[in-house]
Amino acid sequence: MQSQSRPNTLAQRDLLGIDGLSPDDVSAILDLSESYVALNRNAQKKSDVLRGRTLILLFFETSTRTRTSFELAGKRLGADVINISVASSAIKKGETLIDTAMTLNAMHPDVIVVRHPDAGAVRLLANHVNCAVINAGDGSHEHPTQALLDALTIRQKKGRLDGLRIAICGDILHSRVARSNILLLTMMGSQVRLVAPPTLVPPAIERLGAEVFHDMREGLEDCDIIMMLRLQAERMQGTFVPSTREYFRYFGLDEDKLTSAKPDALILHPGPMNRGVEIDSTVADDITRSAILIQVELGLAVRQACLDLLGREPAIS
């Protein structure tokens, strides 16, 4: 892990989305992530590539796994990690966002990881700081490290990222995970299908290169990967589906619908899961099919790789 002397090989200072990355960038991040997967399985997990660097986690939305994952990633790389959680009620005003950005910037951090309920808010913040910014999810826009960890999981399990048939199922409309995954997986040469009722499919999404299905069995046919999404009730204004009961009946992943996919199809879920809403417990807990906990493990490695890459260049003063 002696990477201090190596420059950031990404063409950009920030990681705001998959949009902007090249296939080579993705492969480079995933390759570096693999080395952290190995390191994390040692008893001695610490590296010092970010020693002396300051990492700020700025979360305007509640998060358990993503925040913990970034925090642990920073600490294992030797960075000083500061956690700032802003109660969602206090951030209604965007002035606060730019003011917060400029205030934090004055403390010379090296990397800021931001999650925000509004699409575009992380870019707005990035425009007002001198350090690297990682988007940990902005509204329904992007969540690039999630897509990268999903890609790493798929690559480990299937040995490649091209030529696969991948179904992303559920609440596509409100999902930043779906958008980042569509961009990444189509870019790497896989075929992406979206399975959801029409009310949960964003308009013109097929222009991003995905095929839309409203019948889950049809959509899952011959799929190598099934990516389930959480029904995001907190982002919903009004009725999109009549009830969770009806939703599960037609769009929840259970043993029966799973038979449409390839026998060795892998099941992913970004978490947190709503058991009995979008996924049946027996399917979620079947370790021969479900990669849900592997995703969590690899997520940490992916975030270490991203922090390592973006933390290499000293902050511009």
């Binding site: 949009d19 966002l97 509004d118 699409a119 870019r123 958008r179 222009r207």
Partner: protein
Amino acid sequence: MSEPRTAYINARLLDPESGLDASGALLTEGAFIADFGQNLFAEGVPEGIEVVDCAGHCLSPGLVDMHVHLREPGHEYKETIASGGLSALAGGVTSICSMPNTDPVIDNVSLIEFVQRRAREAKGAKVFPFAAVTKGLGGKQITEFGMLAEAGAVAFTDDGLPISDSQVMRRALSYAKTFDLLISQHAEDLSLSGCGCMAEGEVATRLGLDGIPEISETVMVERDIRLVELTGGRYHVAHISTADAVDCVRKAKARGLRVTCEAAPHHFSLTDHDVGDYRTFAKMAPPLRSDANRAAIVEGLKDGTIDAIATDHAPHDQESKRLPMAHAANGIVGLETLLPLSLELYHRGHMPLLDVLRRLTVAPAELLNLPVGRLRKGASADLLLFDSDVPWLVETAKFRSMSKNSPFDGRPVQGRALRTIVDGRTLFTADVPIGKQ
């Protein structure tokens, strides 16, 4: 007792009402047009008359903008009646219609009088106020149309908000008939727009933003046209932005209904792609839409379905725009880009120059019964001298408006106001030298 006289010589006289497009001269006497024509001053200008050499540039009626938000009273840090008037003059606009969605809302006679008094004190562009259709823009109780019109309200609108309640709209259209008044509608079904902050489509989907569908405008225009048919009222669609709504208006006109509409320059100049990476300066209601819709607005202007071009000038301070897209304020300033953006329709070969000018002068004046927008002997000398071709770059920092929220900063354009004259007095002169044509 003789009034000061000014001769504008070597002008290209343009009057959309009469179709005049000829070299000639124009004489103002005091606040009025005394004479004009090809042969005027053919033998030279007599002593005692001030001479303005127009150097072959265009002399037309001053522009009439029937859709302007002046922010006074209530938000004077964004724009005042005085600053909006200066912005208008710099854009070649001599008459502006102020929208009533101020704080307080212009919904009673004393507030109409307030606007008129502030405009008189400002001594800038002429201000013709619109009044609210409903008290406090509440959408429930209609205002005193008759008394407001008598006080000087030239039309009625709840702009910024639609009149959503069908019964209220029916009554407004019906009651306005008593005085033959125009109801202008911000046509939007708010429940269909939801939390949308840009046009629904690929760009919104990529940006992860909630979209405003085209249908939210069309549904409202369709409903209103049915109500016009029922009541016989006079109805106007403000800032029309969709191909389908333009088509509805086209068909309503063909059926003889008293339906008109206006379009804003940004809706025939830009598309949702110009939102780019969350550019809040490109956020407005209705939103920038697809290129097919943009082209339909051009088509509507060409075939006359769209009667007027109006800016929907909506000043906002930086802080209202330096926000995530979903929370940024709607609207852009438009008075100082109205002329060059409209002239793009001419330069790109979509419309003859006189047709473009018609939609900027006499057409809105006719809709609102305003005594402006024409070259006529005895009419107010509200004039615009402009260079129709000069290329320049829009620089928002130089705007006279107090607000600079325009997505056109840096845009190369052609044509600009050289001199703006209200009631015979030159109130604006461009700081660029007037070159020979």
